[in-house]
């Protein structure tokens, strides 16, 4: 891999981790959501670097453009009571640090195993990551899961409407 690509990858990784930490620790929910937006855009850059152009586009359009804007809309419309005075973390946050740290250590030591066990595929002429390859896999091999996902989305829409509906007194 070229040096410039490696430098770019390290920048994107460092920026992702920084924005994730800031997103988790900010007091105001709006600030948190804006840092999550920065995180999603940097992760989209990492996807681009890995040759997954379609996934990067979906990440920007669906994750950053739809899901996160949905959260922002919700936060602004809900008119929550100000929580500036309330503590950010619950009382048992040191236990959460231990849980997160233990998990990170575990996976950090496991991260080189797949690279050692599974040799990288030969970089042949078939370029993975373009829209045609992903699309043909999505609509042939994964056709049934694709239809099931549409049912999951339908159930989510109906469920959200049912839960958000105001109860009318009969």
């Amino acid at each position: 891999m070229s040096t410039a690509g490696l430098v770019l990858f390290h920048y994107l990784a460092a920026a992702s981790i920084t924005s994730a930490i800031l997103a988790i620790t900010r007091h105001k929910p709006i600030h948190s959501l804006l840092w999550v937006l920065a995180l999603f855009l940097h992760v989209a850059g990492i996807f681009l670097l890995m040759g997954a152009e379609f996934l990067a586009a979906v990440q920007v359009i669906v994750y950053a453009g739809a899901i996160l804007v949905f959260y922002l809309f919700f936060l602004m419309l809900l008119d929550l009571p100000s929580e500036a005075a309330a503590p950010r973390f619950s009382a048992h946050w040191p236990l959460s640090v231990v849980a997160g740290g233990a998990f990170a250590t575990l996976i950090w030591y496991a991260r080189d195993i797949p690279a050692a066990l599974v040799p990288p595929a030969p970089r042949g002429a078939s370029s993975v990551g373009n829209l045609a390859t992903v699309g043909s896999a999505l609509f042939t091999e994964f056709a049934v899961p694709f239809e099931i996902v549409s049912l999951v989305l339908l159930a989510a829409i109906v469920g959200a409407v049912v839960m958000a509906k105001r109860k009318t007194q009969a």
Binding site: M1, S2, I17, A20, I21, A23, I24, P29, S32, V36, L39, F40, V43, I46, L49, M50, G51, A52, L55, V58, Y63, A66, I67, F70, Y71, F74, L80, A86, F89, H92, W93, S96, V97, A99, G100, A104, I107, W108, A110, R111, D112, P114, A115, V118, P120, G124, S127, V128, G129, T133, E141, P145, V149, V152, A156, I157, G159, A160, M163, A164
Partner: protein
């Protein structure tokens, strides 16, 4: 052909992001920010799926990542619907306010 990103570094990044999301989910009191932490965890899983897809030159990892994104969208809709129903009945959306089903 894109540049060859080291798969181990991507998996390490994914692990760190997942741990940050896990910490946020366990430690934050605001339910909306707990949902956002779940989104961070789902996104870190997408990073490792894309890393394996890149490493093995196999598009199926990216298809799985697309499914994860669809499930994340469903989770956002359901979770925020729950928060809306909750905020109608209670003042505030902190986990300390909802203890009726605890123990």
């Amino acid at each position: 052909m894109g540049p060859m990103v080291p798969v181990g570094a991507c998996l390490g990044l994914s692990a760190v992001l997942f741990a940050i999301g896990l910490f946020g989910f366990l430690a934050r009191r605001n339910i909306i920010l707990m949902l956002v932490s779940v989104e961070i965890m789902l996104n870190s899983v997408n990073v490792s799926l894309a890393a394996f897809s890149h490493h093995l030159s196999d598009a199926r990892g990216q298809v799985m990542a697309l499914f994860v994104i669809a499930v994340a969208a469903s989770e956002a809709a359901i979770g925020l619907g729950l928060v809306l129903a909750l905020s109608r009945n209670k003042q505030g959306v902190n986990v300390e306010d909802v203890t009726q089903l605890r123990w």
